[in-house]
Symmetry: C2
Subunit: 322 residues, 2 copies
């Protein structure tokens, strides 16, 4: 069983890759002639929107669940993420015949509830609001002894997400830049731990919405800043860094840049139109940074993580009145 | 120069593949765990929505343009297709430094005009209606001596489209079924000529909208039926078979099945949601046929051609009042 108390190193991330190999997809790197031309460089898109559950979150959740003992699995796992992590925990638990509980506010979209249920998890309804969700989760812990899997502030989850960067290097070893969206920082911190030990010369930049710029603020102030319920269309990036992800990012990241809501929407649409890939707005922030010239690609070879592809198809980003 | 007057055989389709190799992409075959489960078989999706210009039409247009003599190229090429074929002819001509004219009705969407212009073609405006478009095209022929490239009723175009089937067999040789959308029949006839010489035991089924069922009617009556301006959301399948495509299909196809508008919309959305691939409604008709049980997949291994991914992102199929 991996150590939950120690920051994962490259070896731990390699172990995670082996542990989760039976569940997760080795997603392709995709190119785009028109985006390369537009930004005068070479872009390699890591297609985690084609990952199980439609997001890279399958990796971290699987590594955490598969690290549990038989006794722990017997009591079940739980989370209160209503997004991609909830489905990821449900999927991973299901493959181990373990019970999973996902706490969801009773105003959550029916489609999200169906998705979680389709992986065999139990939905626990609660009133909206973080306090209510945490209370409902604590009740599960107290009553059933379930093991809680945090969506990002967990070293096993971080190690699992780091396998994205490992695969990118295996698939295209000569990149000089890696661009990663930042919400709670699980993917960015895991990627940094892998890349900076394996190929420290590769620049790693995190990108977040201006309206959810806790990582930028945290780096500037040197202390972890928390933004409560930021209003951004990139719903996967609304979380703030955790006390495990922040120190890793503060130590290792090359830069954090921010992007406007307009650029996120434009970038999402650009990828849909030119690449025919259905990514969610959170996945489009690196392309938004190129559009806004917050990152200069000219002459460089970059990898970009398309983090997920789950969104409401009745109400597209460019059809909302923001 | 290939023979324009003789039905292409497997050798001609292989020559076409060589001729167009520098321009077209070898698109991937994609799998979907959830669609396989849903239909109890094995589906391999040929991703021509990732082809140049976002559709398989790049192949036939390139084969036709690249077959022209220097003298013919010097006079330029023309078409009156405002859809994917127009962009395909423009792209192919541009790579040979030949002029291209695309006749478009003056009420055509600005986005379509921009796409054709972006490949360097000249737009020739005309009043809406087929008669006006044909008159404008004839004027170009009379005045400039341009070479007209028909979107499907041309053996060089048919041979080019047949390269899709060649690639499928190279990528997944053990399929037992090929499912192809039918509009004017260029892709289906080209695929039949390749498959029935190379692997005659593979069943080939064409799929068309119920509202544009000219191929089904033509097979039933034994004579080519033309449906004028059928009203279907699958805008790429509104054309009727031509006098070159109909005899090939009548002789070689295993079956033609039809699908409802509701099933086309449901299938498009299913592919977007489960596969995260942005296909146009015309490309979704094979999946619609599976949804409506017009084709039974159970236990079989099938290839499906995702023919294109160009559609209006401001007005999605499920947002229209049909």
């Amino acid at each position: 069983m991996p150590d939950c108390e120690t920051r994962p190193d490259l070896a731990a991330i390699r172990q995670a890759a082996e542990r989760i190999a039976g569940l997760v997809q080795r997603t392709p790197l995709m190119r785009s002639r028109s985006l390369d031309q537009m930004f005068s460089g070479e872009l390699h898109f890591k297609c985690e929107h084609l990952q199980r559950v439609g997001a890279f979150k399958a990796r971290g959740a699987a590594n955490a669940v598969f690290s549990l003992s038989a006794e722990e699995l017997g009591k079940g796992v739980a989370t209160h993420s209503s997004g991609n992590h909830g489905a990821a925990v449900a999927l991973a638990a299901g493959t181990k015949d373990a019970q999973a509980w996902v706490v969801m506010p009773d105003d959550a979209p029916a489609a999200k509830k169906r998705a979680v249920e389709s992986y065999g998890a139990n939905i626990v309804d609660c009133k909206p609001g973080l306090a209510n969700r945490e209370a409902a989760l604590q009740e599960l812990v107290d009553k059933k002894g379930v093991h809680v899997i945090h969506p990002y502030n967990d070293y096993r989850v971080i190690a699992g997400q780091g396998t994205v960067a490992l695969e990118i290097i295996e698939q295209q070893e000569d990149i000089d830049l890696l661009m990663v969206p930042v919400g709670g920082g699980g993917l960015l911190s895991g990627s940094l731990l892998a890349i900076k030990e394996l190929r420290p010369e590769i620049q790693v930049i995190g990108i977040e919405p201006e309206r959810a710029d806790d990582a930028r603020q945290s780096l500037d102030s040197g202390e972890r800043v928390i933004i409560d319920s930021p209003d951004t269309i990139a719903d996967g990036l609304r979380a703030s860094l955790g006390d495990k992800t922040f120190p890793i990012i503060a130590e290792l990241v090359d830069d954090i840049v921010t992007v406007s809501e307009d650029a996120i929407i434009e970038a999402t649409r650009l990828v849909w139109e030119r690449m025919k890939q259905l990514i969610e707005p959170s996945a489009a922030v690196p392309v938004a940074a190129l559009l806004e010239r917050r990152i200069e690609l000219k002459g460089r070879r970059a990898a970009v993580v398309f983090t997920g592809g789950n969104l409401d198809l009745d109400w597209l980003p460019w059809q909302r009145d923001f």
